[in-house]
């Protein structure tokens, strides 16, 4: 059985392996078992639809963290031309967990930045498992200012379990770095598109998560705390992550219902890793469409709308302005309907 198969994917994987085996035998033995194969393929298709069309929050979490999931640099390379990575915060370091540079989509020059996880153990360590340090957030902001200077839009790709919380991170002001980024991103005079492509891990995510449009891949998650951490706090049992994942409403569809994201970008059945190219094409299409819309908006209006977009998040019951908040249909994450 191939590695990197998630638990809920196993029935499908077993059938797929069975079909592959029959096909192999067919080739070896020369017997025509096309009918059997067709039957099994219909079965696997049904199974796929059944299992993958009805994923739990924990399933989404697993897909979002899938070791074969495309990472920021994969998307950048597939979506953009002429990418030139730029490094360094010009202060103290160059953070491997945050990448960025100039790129081009069609005729549009832009700056793209995002957290980057690693494929193998060496790259993972070098990338700090996608947990950006203060140097990373400051590099990202420096590159956004470069975009602003030349009137280029910014695309941020969010994929981090959390911001780095090492001693070194505290020493270099990880809090300051995240806060400063958010503040200055509200003042940046060029369009910003944020896409949560994998894990939207709390403060680590929002440190590059302010924008005019927030997109989210279908199986990405966006959460205030990892489900395991939540379970550890609630039930002193990190193993109850699946329950916590459900409770935290961390799926793209909840985020859409809350108004936290504006659009869910569909993934291939089973997740982005099943067809990386198709996922990148879908994301690229969405980014281009929103860039087109945003580029037509005068800068003052752009900044006002960016402000209002976040200003209305988290409605509350205000008895002195009765009815106002409760009328907002997007309040309740439980009422979420799939976007597509």
């Amino acid at each position: 059985m191939p590695e990197n198969i998630l638990e809920f994917e196993q029935p499908i994987a077993q059938l797929e392996a069975q079909i592959a085996e029959i096909k192999r035998l067919t080739a070896v033995e020369g017997v025509d078992r096309g009918e059997e194969i067709a039957l099994l393929e219909a079965q696997v298709e049904q199974l796929r639809l059944k299992i993958l069309g009805d994923l739990t929050a924990w399933d989404h979490t697993q897909i979002a963290r899938h070791p074969k999931r495309p990472y920021a640099l994969d998307f950048i390379r597939l979506m953009c031309d002429d990418f030139l990575e730029l490094h360094g915060d010009r202060l103290a370091g160059d953070d491997g967990a945050m990448v960025g540079g100039i790129a081009r989509i069609g005729e549009q020059q832009l700056v793209v930045t995002g957290q980057q996880k690693g494929r193998d153990i060496h790259e993972r360590q070098r990338r700090n498992f996608g947990s950006a340090r203060p140097e990373g957030y400051r590099k990202a902001l420096r590159l956004m200012r470069l975009a602003e200077k030349f009137g280029r839009p910014v695309v941020c790709l969010v994929d981090t379990p959390a911001a780095d919380c090492s001693v070194a991170a505290e020493e270099h002001g990880i809090c300051e770095a995240i806060a400063h980024n958010m503040r200055d991103m509200f003042l940046l005079t060029v369009p910003i598109i944020v896409a949560v492509i994998g894990e939207g891990g709390s403060g680590g995510a929002i440190g590059i998560g302010v924008g005019d449009r927030i997109l989210m891949l279908e199986h990405a998650i966006y959460s205030i705390i990892p489900p395991e951490g939540c379970a550890a706090i609630l039930w002193k049992d990190p193993k109850r992550g699946p329950e916590a994942a459900d409770q935290l409403r961390l799926t793209a569809q909840h985020a859409l219902a809350f108004g936290v994201v504006d659009e869910i970008v569909p993934e291939p059945l089973g997740g982005a890793h099943r067809d990386v190219d198709a996922t990148a094409r879908a994301l690229k299409d969405a980014v281009c469409r929103h860039l087109d819309e945003l580029s037509a908006i005068p800068v003052e209006q752009l900044l006002r709308q960016r402000y209002e977009r976040f200003r209305r998040l988290g409605p509350v019951l205000d008895p002195r302005a009765a009815g106002q908040a409760a009328c907002d249909g997007r309040v309740d994450g439980d009422g979420a309907e799939p976007a597509r």
Partner: protein, 295 residues
């Protein structure tokens, strides 16, 4: 001036009353840090700072207001906001009810306006006694309105963190979104060239510290206050080893350039007043209206 500041309050302080019950005899209580038995009236005259070791006892949000603002100048705003419990989080409403009872607050923040040495300000305080002062939709909304009100009026704003809980887990992503929301308000305030003073008290951590807690033009902290991104539990899980002895304290942050001053409680009010005077007179017109005021 700071003497007798408890007596200035007009409403009974339910938080203080509630806590007073925990103290065995009422008139004497041990210092949390050095265990010295302290005479309560004397301790209160000393702004709840241990006269022996300098330990700063926690203050309720209302006590903070009394400490900072001119007597009787405080007008509370946005008092009755309540969460919509967007995640229907298990036992959350019960816990809220409990802390409402204990603190006399609807949620973890108290906000409003008042004056400091006659200079008008808006002010918000998070109360560590209410679910660790964590930021949910209500607290985020209150901070945001407090900042917006100051921006609209051309005033300074004072934000006091007693938020050890960071962004409140029980409201999930919507708590997290209070980080950019409050930062947005402070971005506008900044672009409008208005002063924001942040005061960090014990404890100030997580999502609060990674948003408005780090966005003051000037950031002050009380001595010994825990100030950090990750709580000790998270840090431990992340394998943080051999931190320096004062790791995650105000003093540590100060050494690493994150704070303007570690400011004993007795000096807070004067320091704030000094900063307000620095920023009080309108800037000359030629210098106004930066589209971007970065860093």
């Amino acid at each position: 001036m700071p003497n007798g500041w408890f007596r200035r309050r007009k409403q009974p302080d339910r938080a203080a009353s509630a806590r007073a019950q925990d103290v065995p005899e009422g008139l004497w209580q041990p210092c949390t840090r050095c265990r010295e038995l302290l005479f309560t009236p004397e301790l209160e005259r000393n702004l709840k700072v241990c006269s022996r070791c300098g330990y700063h006892f926690p203050l309720s949000a209302r006590q903070r207001v009394s400490l900072l603002l001119d007597p009787d100048s405080f007008v509370e705003t946005d008092t009755d906001l309540e969460t919509l419990d967007p995640l229907h989080f298990p036992r959350y409403l019960e816990r809220l009810a409990h802390y409402r009872e204990v603190t006399g607050l609807k949620d973890a923040a108290l906000c409003g306006e008042g004056t400091v040495e006659g200079i008008p300000v808006t002010l918000a305080v998070t109360d560590a006694g209410f679910l660790m002062g964590s930021m949910n939709t209500v607290v985020g909304e209150q901070i945001t309105r407090t900042v917006e009100r100051a921006t609209d009026r051309g005033w300074a704003t004072i934000l006091v963190s007693g938020s050890g809980g960071g962004a409140r887990m029980q409201e999930g992503l919507l708590s997290l979104m209070q980080m950019p929301k409050t930062s947005a308000a402070l971005a506008r305030h900044h672009a409008a060239r208005r002063l924001a003073i942040v005061i960090l008290t014990d404890p100030s951590m997580g999502g609060v510290q990674a948003s408005w807690g780090s966005l003051g033009d000037v950031i002050l902290a009380e001595p010994g206050a825990r100030v950090a991104f990750a709580g000790p539990r998270v840090a431990q899980q992340a394998g943080v080893q051999k931190p320096p002895p004062d790791y995650q304290t105000a003093e540590f942050c100060f050494r690493h350039g994150q704070l303007d001053r570690v400011c004993p409680r007795r000096e807070l009010r004067d320091t704030v007043a000094r900063l307000l005077r620095f920023a009080a007179v309108p800037v000359r017109s030629a210098h106004r209206g930066h589209p971007v005021l970065a860093r």
